[in-house]
């Protein structure tokens, strides 16, 4: 009887630790930024870090929990960014509160990204492995191409949309929102660090609660063994789609947050390289490990900035660091050394270890 309670507690403990660390990080950074203790360049990165953290957590749902490689996650971010900003901008007069407008923007972004997720997920999830990966890549590129050729404007008659060339017939009071390859050039900067922090918390809440439920277990069962999952009555299509669409929706909200931190945004920002960047966060942080994703996303977003003193060499160093980390964590020989080092470190605090072990096995 007691064992099962312990299981729940152990899962929950790691989740609470994650929530706690995020709150602590927010509290510290927020204090530092109001007292001016951090550089303005770092301050400017706080919102993008939150956006990338949400991207990493949501991609981890697809790659780590569902077990499918997606190379087009930035596409959903893009859909979220452009639809969310469009919503926020067209409601500029109707909804005076900027906080509310940002919220509406993020929800719109999430909804549209979710719709894109359903449309893409239905065909994509019929494929397997690397074929699935390449099709997500293809969808990411298609989304980029379409938005690059999309023209959206708003006037008192409502939204106007045209594709390929600017055929908008806006009235004098109208304004163009999405201007093809120029993107959106007149964004109100509504995103704040607090909004980013709250989105991270909501994302964690959704992902943790999803994963620790019958639906999450069904998703992981499909990842571990599709045929066995089917044989115990799990509806494969439903749960794969659920994970994929949830992941897309969260990426969409993150896109809105990201875009509303800048005054201009273009579709080329959300290309294959951005998808790969987020994938790197997920793999470095550990598959299925949300705290790892958060740390990796934050650290790797800051790293190129921190390497600024190396000027031209910084991206080269970034590449070398990336390769070395992958080698050290995955090569059997090197991993052996790492484990020995870890053990030495752990031995220093045997008391804490024993207490934890006792808690797990206690009956």
């Amino acid at each position: 009887m007691k064992t099962k309670k312990m299981t729940l507690n152990r899962n929950a403990r790691k989740n609470y630790l994650t929530y706690g660390l995020v709150i602590a990080a927010y509290a510290i950074l927020q204090t530092m930024s109001t007292t001016g203790a951090i550089s303005s360049s770092l301050k400017g990165m706080l919102v993008p870090i939150c956006a990338y953290v949400v991207m990493a957590i949501s991609l981890n749902l697809t790659v780590g929990v569902l077990g499918e490689l997606s190379l087009g996650h930035a596409g959903f971010m893009s859909v979220g960014a452009f639809t969310g900003v469009t919503a926020a901008m067209s409601l500029q007069t109707a909804v005076p509160s900027p906080v509310l407008r940002l919220l509406i923007g993020m929800i719109t972004g999430a909804v549209f990204a979710a719709i894109a997720g359903v449309l893409i997920g239905i065909p994509v999830l019929r494929l397997k492995g690397d074929y699935l990966a390449i099709v997500t890549l293809a969808f990411g590129e298609i989304i980029k191409s379409i938005i690059n050729n999309l023209y959206v404007g708003v006037d008192e008659h409502g939204l106007q949309i045209s594709i390929l060339t600017n055929k908008l017939a806006l009235s004098d009071n109208g304004k163009i929102i999405i201007n093809g390859p120029m993107g959106i050039t007149t964004i109100e900067k509504l995103s704040t660090f607090t909004a980013g922090f709250l989105l991270v918390m909501v994302t964690l809440f959704i992902v943790f609660n999803l994963v620790n439920s019958r639906s999450g277990r069904a998703i992981m069962a499909i990842r571990d063994n599709r045929i066995a999952a089917e044989s115990v009555g799990v509806n494969i299509v439903k749960y794969r789609l659920m994970a994929f669409v949830t992941s897309a929706a969260l990426a969409g909200a993150s896109g809105t947050l990201f875009a509303m931190n800048y005054s201009t945004i273009i579709a080329n920002k959300f290309d294959f390289n951005t998808s790969i960047l987020v994938l790197v966060f997920v793999v470095l942080g550990g598959l299925g490990n949300m705290l790892g994703s958060i740390i990796a996303a934050a650290a790797l977003t800051i790293l190129p900035e921190a390497l600024r003193q190396f000027a031209d060499y910084r991206m080269l160093i970034y590449a070398i660091v990336l390769i070395l980390v992958m080698l050290v964590t995955n090569n059997p020989t090197l991993k052996g050394y790492l484990d020995i080092a870890k053990q030495k470190l752990v031995r220093k605090k045997p008391a804490a270890q024993a207490a934890e072990g006792g808690g797990d096995n206690g009956k």
Partner: protein
């Protein structure tokens, strides 16, 4: 042997244990068959299993036994013939739907959710026992906790069948081989089946483990009052617990009957040992 059961014919000319005769059979297949390309893998396969029967499916390697399991669970859609589970046809259903209808199975090459814990493996089996939807799980509604608690209690009960309660937190992939096989059976039982298919449950077990397994299969049948169909090469196990045995070779049924009939059937002996063995 304790399981001497008299087999009696049912209207479809198959035989089932006498005690199940007044209940309709749990499974009936009629002229079931599948072709892979031009190859006829299974043909004209007829089988009837009683409500609480322990039945065996035997035959030489490559005879099509596992293919029959895959047909029964709709992993492969049959080319011809019908499967009636509790009188209802499973034609066109997905594997997951067949499971909900009442067939659960294990696999020849163990298929656990190896990165998940033992408890989680069982909980996936209990998937349909939990009645909350995803939204109420994300919002952590009170009935989510209630449903989870009941499911976990049920999982511990199931684990106690094989005395595996203290392994609940272990990662399934790290269990010893025998425990993995047992966990797979429990996971199948968790889906609340009326027919349990076991694909070589004793593979890789030593004689004493096999003996224990036989006891447990019988116990499971008595506890849950379900039917069991098993594929096995260990003849001690098959002859020891199976009430009805069906022998297949080259995708066709070559003999049916109780253990004594099968043991002495010249066609079966020939299939296993070749022509010389029959003399």
């Amino acid at each position: 042997m304790a399981n001497k059961v008299k087999l009696v014919p049912v209207p479809s000319q198959s035989v089932i244990p006498e005690r199940d005769i007044d209940k309709s059979p749990i499974l009936e297949t009629h002229h079931l068959g599948i072709d892979f390309g031009g190859l006829v893998a299974v043909d004209d396969f007829n089988l009837t299993i009683g409500r609480t029967e322990i039945a065996g499916l035997i035959g030489p390697n490559g005879a099509g036994k596992t293919t029959i399991f895959n047909l029964l669970t709709n992993v492969y859609q049959p080319t011809r013939g019908t499967i009636l589970l509790d009188g209802k046809s499973t034609k066109g259903m997905k594997t997951s739907q067949v499971c909900k209808m009442g067939i659960a199975r294990t696999f020849q090459n163990i298929r656990l959710f190896s990165d998940m814990t033992v408890m989680e493996n069982i909980l996936v089996g209990l998937h349909d026992e939990m009645d909350y939807n995803t939204l109420s799980a994300v919002l952590r509604m009170p009935w989510f906790f209630r449903s989870e608690r009941i499911a976990r209690e049920r999982a511990i009960e199931l684990l106690s069948i094989f005395n595996m309660e203290d392994m609940a937190d272990a990662v399934a992939g790290s269990l010893p081989y025998g425990a993995q096989r047992r966990l797979e059976i429990l996971r199948a039982l968790a889906t609340n089946p009326s027919l349990l298919l076991l694909d070589e449950p004793a593979a890789g077990m030593n004689p004493s483990e096999t003996e224990e397994l036989m006891e447990n299969i019988r116990r499971i049948r008595d506890m849950f009052q379900i039917a069991v169909l098993l594929i096995e090469h260990d003849m001690n196990l098959v002859m020891g617990i199976c009430e009805g045995i069906c022998v297949v070779n080259y995708g066709k049924v070559i003999a049916k009957g109780d253990p004594d009939q099968i043991k002495n059937d010249p066609v079966v002996i020939e299939a296993y040992l070749g022509k010389k063995g029959a003399k």
